[in-house]
């Protein structure tokens, strides 16, 4: 802890030396020495190419890497600017790399970035993941320009992804966020965002930095907070998102718990905001959209369905309590279907998610148990989507997701009606 404090003063000195900046680019990292130099160079190039007259700072907020990530950041540079530059760089780009203090987690890393942005009175901020392999200089332009020149407060990313990627986003986070807050932000937990200094200051004013937000769920927290507080939202098409494979040992149910509980926690806070919202509207989108080909991705749906049926056999009482008799029987019916005939109806799926949200709201089970018990259902839904989309083009698969979102919006009344019942009234 002492160490952290001294480093903080060190960082402060550095920040004071810089004085002020127009753009702050934050890169949170933890043992990303392999990939981060590419990210830093892409950011540098982007800043130099598109914002030559703006004063910019690259901030690396590190979670205590042991592989010399920060060294890589300090040393990464582009030898030959002339290869990519149209203009001569006027303003220098400063760099700060430091280990953040506080609860370990991406949220704490972002907090330090916001603080630096505030001290430097930055007009625009960008955060990008440190494990990106597909980042290009254009990303910086696409994430910063809507903020600096068009007056947007928050820019979410829009990627071109494989139809089977981002299943938690596609089947839970996107439809739920969209139905709740009425904004069609396609990648609410994309990880690469642009936002104004005003929003960064607003984030800092929120009393969440000692909570779970500091550990995980910062992405959905940022997006939801921006939408729910009426900031101007846009999204930018960044192209493909390719990043280092996630920790292969990462447990799916823990991932689900982190993402979904962050969503549900925000529902508690912004109940007054999302309840009156009906339908949804598109948000302005920047960038030139194009499609790329789909390579074949092998997915073991048999294994997923096996886990789904295992859940049905073992979690009967828990599911029955959460879903109610009618929908539980529907789920039971699914369990009897053969693998190739398996189809999780979208209406049922929306009710499952809403029922889990209501159960979370009414504290029916300890939160971690509750959300982890969703895993087999989620796997069933995912397998169903993969089976249905096996021969689809990207656009067709996207149309399926659009249908799901529509169902979430249509069913929202159920959530609203069941939510309004007071807490602790369930006897």
């Amino acid at each position: 802890m002492m160490n952290a404090v001294t480093l903080r003063t060190e960082v402060h000195e550095q920040v004071e030396k810089i004085g002020s900046a127009d753009i702050v680019v934050g890169i949170p990292s933890f043992n990303n020495a392999n990939t981060i130099s590419h990210v830093v160079r892409a950011v540098q190039a982007g800043l130099a190419k598109y914002f030559p007259t703006r004063r910019a700072v690259i901030v690396n907020s590190d979670g205590g890497s042991s592989d010399g990530t920060m060294e890589v950041v300090r040393n990464a540079s582009i030898e030959d600017f002339s290869a990519i530059l149209l203009h001569h760089r006027v303003e220098p780009i400063s760099r700060i790399a430091f280990p953040y203090s506080g609860i370990p987690g991406k949220g704490s890393a972002f907090r330090s970035i916001f603080e630096i942005a505030r001290t430097l009175e930055a007009k625009a901020c960008v955060v990008v993941d440190s494990d990106l392999r597909s980042i290009t200089p254009e990303w910086i332009e696409l994430l910063v320009k809507p903020v600096l020149e068009d007056g947007y407060d928050y820019v979410a990313p829009l990627y071109h992804r494989h139809k089977f990627d981002g299943t938690i986003t596609n089947s839970i986070v996107y439809p739920l966020t969209r139905a709740l807050y009425g904004k069609r932000v396609r990648q609410p937990i994309g990880g690469d965002f642009g936002f104004s200094g005003r929003v960064a200051g607003f984030y800092l004013s929120k009393d969440v930095w000692e909570s779970d937000v500091a550990r995980f769920g910062i992405d959905i927290w940022m997006t939801t907070t921006a939408i729910a507080n009426g900031f101007r939202i846009a999204q930018s098409f960044l192209g493909a998102k390719i990043h280092d494979a996630k920790d292969p040992g990462a447990d799916l149910s823990s991932m689900l718990y982190q993402v979904v509980s962050a969503n549900f926690d925000l529902m508690e806070e912004y109940a007054g905001v999302w309840m009156p919202v009906h339908g949804s509207e598109p948000v302005p989108t920047f960038g030139f959209q194009y499609t790329v080909g789909l390579e074949h991705v092998p997915v073991n749906t048999g294994r997923m369905l096996g886990l789904f049926r295992e859940g049905l056999n073992n979690l009967r009482e828990i599911w029955l309590g959460i879903l109610g008799a009618g929908d539980f029987r529907e789920v039971e019916r699914l369990g009897a279907l053969a693998d190739d005939a398996f189809c999780f109806p979208i209406g049922l799926w929306t009710r499952v998610i809403y029922d889990y949200a209501i159960a979370f709201h009414h504290n029916k089970l300890p939160p971690e148990h509750l959300i982890k018990s969703l895993t087999p259902l989620y796997l069933g839904k995912t397998a169903s989507f993969i089976l249905a989309a096996a021969n689809m083009e990207g656009a067709e698969a996207e149309a399926e997701i659009e249908k799901l979102c529509k169902a979430f919006e249509d069913n929202k009344e159920y959530l609203v009606m069941s939510w309004s019942k007071h807490k602790g009234d369930q006897t």
């Binding site: 109610g324 008799a325 009618g326 529907e330 019916r333 009606m417 069941s418 019942k421 009234d425 006897t427």
Partner: protein, 402 residues
């Protein structure tokens, strides 16, 4: 998985295979556009504090095809009425609660009494009747479904299957009764198994083929409290306010509609509700009161169709019933054995003895006063005698629910 045998003169709709609730509900949403569906729920306040009601509300909150829900609340104070409203708030369908003990509805009941209409004692029959009245007064629904509020195993699949035959305009059913098996670790539903069916068979033996008996015998579960009907039927049917409600209602259906327009539907794989205690001696309580009322209702209906009940017929009926019931016990013993259910033969035999006494009591009561009828007049008659009654009722309920 059930068989597909058609029983008797009415249509039987089985549960064949695992059907999708999603599909039935989607179809019901379509049907509801031309035939809006009202759900009538007779309830006691005590049921709101019991095990079943939270589950029922949780399920009803997901039902989208209903046009209105009319809950008739009995035995509730003003504060309890408000609590019941709060309790029903998760349901997105419009819920109207008829507060039987509220001052406005009490005034309505007084109006009936003043005009010489006996609407009977409080109970499910009277609650159902007033619910029909309100649905008729609003004139917004073409179908009324009704079920109890003490079903512990409630699922909205029950409601969907119950509404389907009447709501589907292509099927043209006027009345649909729910049926189900009543199995826990043993066989429940004693009154149906050991009283009604054996007695109907005994009566058929004694008085020969009879349309009403054949009709009644066609129902797999004549005492089930779940049914749906076209609203028109609610206007012309009289319903008993006592325990003869189910059988009496069937008698009225039989009188007003052809069996071709009547069906029964398998609504649940399993069904559990609050059990009645069998008080072997006291005829005014629990199961005993129920069985006496049921028998009286059957006798009365048959008498009105020209069957002559002599002292000798009743005596033969007792003996014949006993024989039938004993045979039935043996059948169910075998049925329980092959399915591995607990079967207490002594308990069943005790029940049959009690039922025999109940038949005797009912026979005596019938002989003493064959005209005594617990039927509440139908709404056609009430509205012609008190022309403003529908408006009054509508106003009272709407004011209460403000």
């Amino acid at each position: 998985m059930s068989d597909f045998y058609q029983t008797g003169v009415i249509t039987t709709l089985h549960q064949l295979g695992k059907t999708s609730l999603e599909r039935i509900e989607a179809e019901l949403c379509d049907f509801a556009r031309t035939r809006p569906i009202a759900l009538a729920l007779p309830a006691l306040y005590s049921e709101f504090e019991g095990p079943a009601m939270p589950g029922i509300v949780q399920e009803l909150a997901k039902v989208k095809y209903l046009n209105e829900i009319v809950l008739v609340l009995d035995k509730a104070s003003e504060a309890e009425f408000q609590r019941a409203r709060e309790f029903m708030s998760p349901i997105s369908t419009e819920v109207r609660i008829i507060h039987n003990d509220g001052k406005r509805i009490s005034a309505i009941y007084e109006t009936f009494a003043r005009n010489g209409f006996s609407v009977g004692e409080r109970g499910k029959g009277r609650s159902a009747w007033i619910a029909y009245g309100y649905v008729l007064a609003r004139a917004r629904s073409g179908v009324i479904a009704l079920h109890d509020c003490d079903i512990v195993t409630y699922s909205r699949e029950m409601l969907a299957r119950l509404c389907y035959p009447v709501a589907n305009p292509n099927l043209d059913y006027a009345f649909c009764k729910g049926y189900y098996s009543r199995i826990s670790s043993k066989m429940n539903g004693r009154v149906t198994r050991l009283l009604v069916t054996p007695m109907i068979r005994a009566l058929q033996q004694l008085i020969g083929p009879h349309a009403f008996l054949a009709f009644l015998d066609s129902f797999r579960y004549p005492l089930s409290g779940e049914f749906s009907m076209i609203t028109e039927l609610a206007r012309v049917n009289r319903i008993p306010w006592d325990w003869g409600l189910e059988v009496g209602s069937l008698a009225e259906v039989h009188r007003n509609y052809s069996p071709r327009r009547v069906c029964q539907v398998d609504i649940a794989a399993n069904y559990e509700h609050k059990h009645q205690v069998l008080s072997a001696d006291d005829a005014s309580k629990g199961l005993m009161k129920m069985t006496v009322d049921i028998c009286k209702s059957i006798f009365r209906t048959l008498a009105s169709e020209g069957v002559v009940f002599s002292d000798g017929l009743f005596k033969s009926l007792l003996v014949s019933y006993l024989r039938q019931a004993e045979d039935t016990i043996m059948k169910y013993e075998a049925d329980a054995a092959i399915n591995g259910l607990r079967f207490d033969r002594n308990e069943e035999a005790t029940a049959v003895e009690a039922f025999t006494r109940a038949i005797a009591m009912a026979a005596q009561a019938f002989e003493e006063n064959p005209m005594a009828t617990p039927l509440i007049p139908n709404w056609n008659r009430v509205s012609s005698a008190i022309p403003g009654i529908f408006d009054m009722l509508k106003l009272a309920v709407d004011e209460d629910n403000k």
